[in-house]
């Protein structure tokens, strides 16, 4: 930029900076609202005017992880005395809820769905990045006929609309008993992420100078040894970035999970909307579930910030 700025240029800059700040706040507002609603008592979640200042509570999280039936009356003193500390938080929220049928408070469906999400996302990421790295190396270092066509084929599998793939997969899974299983989803997510992983890893491996392996080959390494001992360590950052992208995609996926699972292997994305049944939903509980679900992605986004551009353009644009 020119060292000397005119007065109008400086004014323009200030206006732009102010506009950027306003836009940033607008974009963050829904995320802030999710976070703040997750810590509100239920009666403050849906007020007009909206409640901005309040004493944060963790009772939404207690209600998120446990299940109880609603009664018309407030809890009896002996119920209160017998309740553990976290259950008292729910009582103190003024809600007329007691332990279901005076029996045990049960675990809700949420922790189980969260675990399913973790299992499916992590396993499919490991498979997609593992296979993708080998394949990317193959494409990066060896010439072959129809390479561009093969790469197009690989990418095009990623672009298929989920519902289009889901119809035959549903029938095939039904025939072999993979419906509503972890492996059913893992296979689908691995296939979905594999093409992405190949394209992105190819970009990262293309950047590793071939001279490194050439030197190793001259030193008596076999091609495989050179790959494992020279290329893989050099590609570590790329592998990590690719893995985070694949994890986020699998973690967020909705359509396949909706169609292929219903109880045993259901992940969080189809489960959380199903909590909004008929009647008035408890938005604090939904916000708490949403907050916990978004937290890992928000952390990963910060870790990934320097690679976002590259990942989002399938490795075509590098910084």
């Amino acid at each position: 930029m020119a060292a000397v700025q005119t007065r109008s240029e400086r004014a323009l800059n200030l206006v732009a900076i102010a506009a950027v700040l306003v836009i940033t706040l607008l974009f963050l507002a829904p995320i802030y609202w999710i976070t703040s609603t997750a810590f509100k008592p239920r009666n403050l979640a849906t007020t007009i005017p909206p409640t901005v200042i309040f004493e944060p509570e963790i009772s939404p999280f207690v209600k998120l992880f446990t299940k109880r039936s609603q009664l018309r009356a407030a809890p009896e003193p002996e119920d209160y005395a017998a309740a553990p500390w976290w259950e008292r938080l729910v009582f103190e929220g003024g809600e007329k809820v007691v332990r279901s049928g005076r029996g045990e408070v049960q675990l809700s469906g949420y922790p189980n769905r969260f675990m399913n999400s973790l299992i499916v996302a992590i396993t499919s990421t490991v498979l997609a990045v593992g296979m993708g790295t080998f394949t990317a190396y193959g494409f990066s270092r060896f010439k072959m006929k129809g390479e561009a066509d093969l790469l197009f084929f690989i990418l095009s599998t990623r672009m298929l609309p989920p519902v289009v793939v889901a119809i035959p997969m549903f029938l095939m899974y039904r025939a072999v008993g993979l419906n509503d299983t972890h492996w059913g989803l893992i296979i689908l997510y691995t296939a979905f992420n594999l093409s992405f992983s190949v394209w992105l890893m190819k970009g990262f491996i293309d950047e590793i100078p071939k001279e490194y392996e050439e030197a190793a080959l001259v030193d008596g390494y076999t091609r495989l040894e050179a790959f494992f001992k020279i290329v893989l360590p050099e590609a570590a950052t790329g592998i990590a970035a690719t893995a985070v992208f694949c994890f986020i995609t699998a973690w967020n996926e909705y359509a396949f999970a909706l169609i292929m699972t219903n109880r045993r292997a259901q992940t969080a994305p189809p489960f959380i909307p199903s909590q909004v049944g008929s009647g008035l939903p408890d938005w604090t509980v939904i916000a708490a579930g949403t907050f916990l679900f978004l937290l890992p992605v928000a952390i990963f986004t910060f870790l990934l910030r320097n690679h976002l551009l590259r990942g989002m353009s399938f490795g075509a644009i590098r910084k």
Binding site: M1, F27, I31, P50, P168, F170, L171, R305, L308
Partner: protein, 301 residues
């Protein structure tokens, strides 16, 4: 020598003769992935191509009867299906235009020295990383006519967004614009920051006006990357399912993916839905083809 071996796959060379040959390694590395994709993506599609010529219903045990092109003929003559395509087209236009305006505009604003620029950019990118289904659900609360913060902030009283047939599609598009403008911004910013400074300086010396500078220097140089963003978002918006499915159940928001989902998994018209899936698939592959051409063009620069 080894330098030649790297790409020539010369099996007689010294380096390649140790351990596995290069051709074997190449196949070992590439073939499993290709096979995996064929088994889990291509084979299912062949399977459903077969069903698309039948009247099969997955909800019954009745065997499928071959009906030839009847499904395709009926679908292409069905005004309701065309209405679903029209809704999808409207959604694509509104949503992608909004994303380009907001995303490119924000990128223009950000393309200068700004304190905490890295942090601001990362924060702006957050929405697109989140789960459409889960965050989309929460927008139901934001859009709520009686206690949503959108109506409160805009002073709209109890304006109906999602329950209003005329507004619902725009409401879905607004949420999509919120999620994906950052994507257009990210790519535009990469394009903008790659425009060489000296071009602007030369334009300033020539006393070129801001409009001339924008249309003759900035836009042409950013265009290839912007096109990637536009084509990619067009493709994604065309396939959209999660947001519209979660936010509303209006007939005016029934985009083609939702129609397909209902036909396949609620009405159980399996054969017919396979035919519709193929019609959608061909359209998506056409857009993908254009997309990949642009990707490769930018890559080669």
């Amino acid at each position: 020598m080894a330098t030649v071996v790297m790409t020539s796959l010369d099996s007689k060379s010294r380096a390649a003769s140790r351990g596995l040959s290069d051709i074997k390694i190449r196949n070992l590395f590439i073939v499993p992935t290709i096979l995996f994709l064929i088994v889990f993506n291509i084979f299912p599609l062949i399977y459903s191509l077969g069903y698309s010529f039948t009247d099969f219903r997955a909800s019954t045990n009745a065997p499928a009867t071959f009906v030839g092109l009847q499904n395709y003929r009926e679908l292409l003559n069905d005004p309701f299906i065309w209405a679903n395509f029209a809704i999808t087209a409207k959604y694509v236009i509104v949503s992608v235009t909004g994303q380009v305006v907001v995303g490119f505009g924000t990128a223009m604003l950000l393309n200068r020295e700004i304190p905490f620029k890295g942090l601001i950019t990362t924060l702006l990118l957050l929405p697109m990383m989140l789960s459409m289904a889960v965050v989309g659900l929460f927008w139901k609360l934001l859009y709520d006519p009686s206690f949503g913060i959108i109506n409160y902030a805009l002073g709209l009283g109890s304006f109906e967004w999602l329950a209003n047939p005329d507004m619902a599609l725009y409401a879905v598009a607004i949420t999509d614009i919120w999620m994906w403008s950052p994507f257009v911004m990210l790519l535009s910013l990469a394009g903008l920051s790659a425009v060489p400074r000296h071009l602007y300086e030369a334009a300033a010396i020539d006393r070129a006006g801001p409009f001339y500078t924008f249309f003759r220097i900035t836009l042409p140089l950013v265009a290839p990357i912007l096109m990637i963003a536009i084509i990619f978002r067009t493709m994604e918006a065309f396939k959209t399912f999660d947001l519209a499915y979660i936010l509303t159940s209006q007939p005016t928001t029934e985009v083609i993916s939702i129609r397909l989902y209902k036909m396949a998994f609620q009405e159980w018209q399996t054969g017919r839905s396979c035919a519709l899936a193929y019609i959608v698939l061909i359209m998506v592959l056409a857009i993908t083809n254009i997309y990949v051409k642009y990707l490769n063009r930018v890559k080669e620069r």
